[in-house]
């Protein structure tokens, strides 16, 4: 197989699709209808998926020409500038292949789903052009072999995310959400850009593999300490993957069309940060202080977002906070050195969260655009396919064996425990209980109990078109089977074997000796029992409160719990208001920051400009004033000379001519 021909095609086809649809899509849609405008972008993405699968299979199996270290495809020299030489090239190894599976599979399914979901929109062609641009950006990010190209893809992903969140730009909230996402991402990107510069300063190269090798080789002799470099790179990851305190953009990004939420804000773009840290794993393993920060921020985001998901009533927002929480898990895994577990969770989460988002889109579509769960309920008989697939997704994310989420989550918790990060493990188990609880709350409020749907809409509730249900069904397959296929036997499954060469160096550096037994029992067994018990506890308590089948939601009990005493009332309000982070940001950056900016503006205007202008004004006015003494009359000058003479002679007499 000519892989160096196939690999460049993977990003090339989507950008061609983008160019074609952007140029001709509108005319095609007006003349020949929607299908004509959709056939090129969707067809190309299907082709990309096929090519990606051809590449992925040998890359995962370490077959030639990929081998254990992966295949480098050099295209051309991009920037030849003295000491700075940047190659345009791609690098495909097992880690890239894992990401390719998630990105192209979910990307393809979302494209197909969008045909149904956007069937009533005027500018379908524009949506598909943006989707193709996003696919291009994401694939560049994943495939790039140098930091600069990664950064290019990184920024392009941000741009296409901006256009897609703000796709319904006539809606003010959507336009604002797009802006918020873009700006918050920039904050992280500044850190990432500085990180790349620091890497270049330390190693003199931007090639990823080469620079990582040199960074580890130089160790403590690096110009810029590795901890600083790692934290800067992590800064970028925090922005894209929406980790605390840069998490505020993701829930608002739900203003975009639901396929966008599924593709970008659940399954692909938000994984970029996880991918980045995993890609730079030798760097992070050499900077263990930075890893503790990664783990801390990850697990904190996990519990923070889970607590907020408890009380949100917008179905997509619940899923958004759940995404934040699961990304927090992944970063916690990266932080404790369980890179493989993080990638495992990335993949399984990509599938089941993509499924849940597409399912929520199907629900929203069926109830005529309503997103508030308080105005749903009792839908399970009316939209059976959506209900069944979302149920699978819910059980998967809750971590009930043998679905995908159980394996990946358990691996993260197990690795955290065995590496001695007990605090990560304890919080992780608590988050597992919370995850199961709020996910069943979503199911209960949406599908079960009595119908609270708007009576005007209720008779029209219908299952979505096949373009929408097919991706749901296809996504539920990996949500069920992925864990069984690549996660068994536990801790030593297929995926671990695939990724072993990528993380071998890190494991060598970290040199952890895992805890093997607990209370005389094998530690894995104990941990599995605990995490399954946690998931079941959360699930069953939510099941009791929010019902199943036609059992009603016990709203009075829910209210009773949330208003037991001052503490619970406070927690309820905190959760409902997302712990006031938007308000905090408003206070810090809009009010206080605005004041500071206004002060600086004033300072610049009055003090800095004032000084410069003042010097000019003084000189000009002095000149203007002195103009008056230039009368042109000889006697005035003579008077000046005479006075000068008298003053000089007089002072000479006074000072020098004093009698001694």
């Amino acid at each position: 197989m000519p892989y160096d021909m196939l690999i460049p095609l993977i990003p090339l086809l989507p950008i061609l699709g983008f160019a074609f649809t952007a140029l001709f899509g509108r005319r095609l849609q007006l003349k020949f209808g929607r299908t004509a405008a959709e056939i090129v972008p969707v067809g190309l993405i299907v082709a990309v998926w096929v090519i990606a699968m051809i590449v992925v299979v040998p890359a995962l199996g370490h077959a030639e020409p990929f081998g254990e270290k992966g295949l480098d495809v050099h295209l051309w020299t991009w920037i030849p500038a003295g000491k700075l030489t940047v190659e345009m090239g791609f690098h495909v190894d097992a880690l890239t292949a894992c990401l390719l599976i998630v990105v192209t599979t979910i990307g393809m399914l979302v494209h197909i789903y969008s045909i149904g979901y956007m069937a009533h929109d005027k500018a379908t062609w524009r949506f598909f052009a943006y989707l193709n641009l996003f696919m291009f950006s994401m694939l560049i990010l994943v495939l790039a072999n140098n930091w600069l190209l990664v950064f290019g893809g990184w920024e392009l992903v941000g741009l296409s995310s901006y256009s897609l969140i703000g796709f319904w730009y006539h809606k003010r909230s959507a336009a604002l959400a797009a802006k918020k996402a873009f700006i918050v991402n920039r904050v992280g990107d500044v850190g990432f850009a500085l990180g790349i510069m620091a890497i270049f300063v330390n190693t003199g190269t931007l090639n990823i593999a080469e620079s990582l090798r040199l960074l580890v080789e130089h160790g403590v002799h690096n110009t810029i300490p590795l901890t600083v470099v790692a934290l800067l790179v992590f800064c970028g990851a925090m922005g894209k993957s929406a980790q605390f305190p840069l998490h505020v953009w993701l829930p608002d990004a739900m203003e975009g069309p639901t396929p966008v939420s599924a593709l970008i804000h659940a399954a692909t773009m938000v994984n970029a940060g996880v991918y980045l840290v995993a890609r730079a794993n030798p760097l992070f393993s050499s900077a263990q202080d930075a890893m503790v920060v990664v783990a801390g921020i990850g697990i904190f985001t996990a519990i923070l977002a889970a607590s907020i998901a408890f009380t949100q009533t917008d179905i997509k927002r619940v899923l958004a906070f759940s995404t934040l929480s699961q990304l927090g898990y992944m970063f916690a895994a990266l932080g404790v050195g369980a890179y493989g577990a993080a990638i495992f969770h990335l993949m399984s989460h990509g599938f089941f969260k993509g499924l849940l988002f597409l399912g929520s889109g199907s629900v929203i579509h069926s109830v005529d655009g309503e997103q508030d769960m308080n105005r749903m309920g009792g839908l399970w008989r009316k939209i059976p396919i959506t209900h069944a697939t979302m149920l699978i997704g819910t059980i998967a994310i809750a971590g009930i064996p043998p679905l995908a989420g159980f394996f990946s989550k358990d691996e993260i918790l197990g690795e955290a425990f065995k590496s001695g990060f007990y605090w990560v493990w304890i919080i992780g188990v608590v988050v597992a209980v919370m995850t199961a609880f709020y996910m069943w709350r979503l199911m209960g409020k949406t599908f079960y109990g009595e119908s609270r749907v708007d009576p005007a809409v209720a008779p029209h509730v219908h299952e979505s078109a096949w373009q929408m249900t097919l991706p749901l069904i296809l996504l539920s397959i990996p949500s069920i089977l992925l864990g069984l296929l690549v996660g068994l036997p536990l801790g030593n499954g297929l995926l671990v074997g695939w990724l072993k060469p990528i993380f071998a160096e890190s494991e060598e550096i970290l040199a952890r000796t895992p805890t093997e037994s607990l209370f005389g029992l094998p530690v894995d067994a104990v941990l599995i029992v605990i995490s399954v018990a946690a998931a079941l506890a959360g699930l069953l308590s939510a099941l009791y409160l929010f019902g199943v089948g036609s059992r009603k939601v016990k709203q009075d009990k829910v209210d009773a719990i949330s208003s037991t005493n001052g503490a619970t009332r406070f927690l309820y309000r905190a959760s409902l208001n997302k712990w006031w982070f938007d308000e905090l940001n408003d206070l810090l950056f809009i009010r206080i920051g605005g004041r500071v900016a206004a002060f600086l503006w004033w300072f610049d205007r009055t003090i800095v400009d004032g000084t410069v202008n003042g010097v000019g004004t003084v000189v000009k006015d002095a000149g203007g004033g002195l103009r008056g003494i230039q009368t042109g009359r000889v006697q005035n000058y003579a008077l000046g000379i005479a006075i000068g003479l008298i003053v000089m002679a007089g002072s000479f007499l006074l000072i020098v001519g004093q009698p001694r």
Binding site: T631, G632, R633, V634, L639
Partner: protein, 114 residues
């Protein structure tokens, strides 16, 4: 009276005071008179006041030293020559301006302002 004058003429300070008075009159004339010719005359007065001071110093301070006394007279002669040259040029300029402006009054002359 005559003997008083005789006594005064033996004193250096008397000559210096006279030179000072003459210089002051010259300065005042130069600054205050509007007529260009009168101003030139005032300059002559100032120059002559200085000359008088030179001669007085030559006669009193270096009276025992013929060589230095002669030097004072020489400077006075040079000043006179310079004054004559200056008066010539000055008068020529004044006449040239007079022909242009039709007035001898210097406060009407403001060409230096431009």
């Amino acid at each position: 009276m005559l003997s008083a004058l005789n006594l005064i003429s033996q004193n250096l300070n008397a000559y210096l005071i006279l030179a000072g008075i003459l210089f002051a009159i010259g300065t005042f004339g130069f600054l205050a008179r509007r007529n260009a010719i009168a101003m030139l005359m005032s300059i002559e007065l100032m120059l002559n006041a200085v000359n008088l001071a030179f001669i007085a110093f030559g006669a009193f301070v270096y009276s025992a030293d013929a060589h230095h006394a002669a030097q004072a007279s020489t400077i006075a002669l040079i000043v006179m020559a310079a004054a004559a040259a200056e008066a010539t040029v000055g008068l020529a300029i004044v006449i040239a301006i007079y022909r242009n402006k039709k007035t001898p009054l210097v406060d009407e002359y403001d060409a230096m302002k431009r």
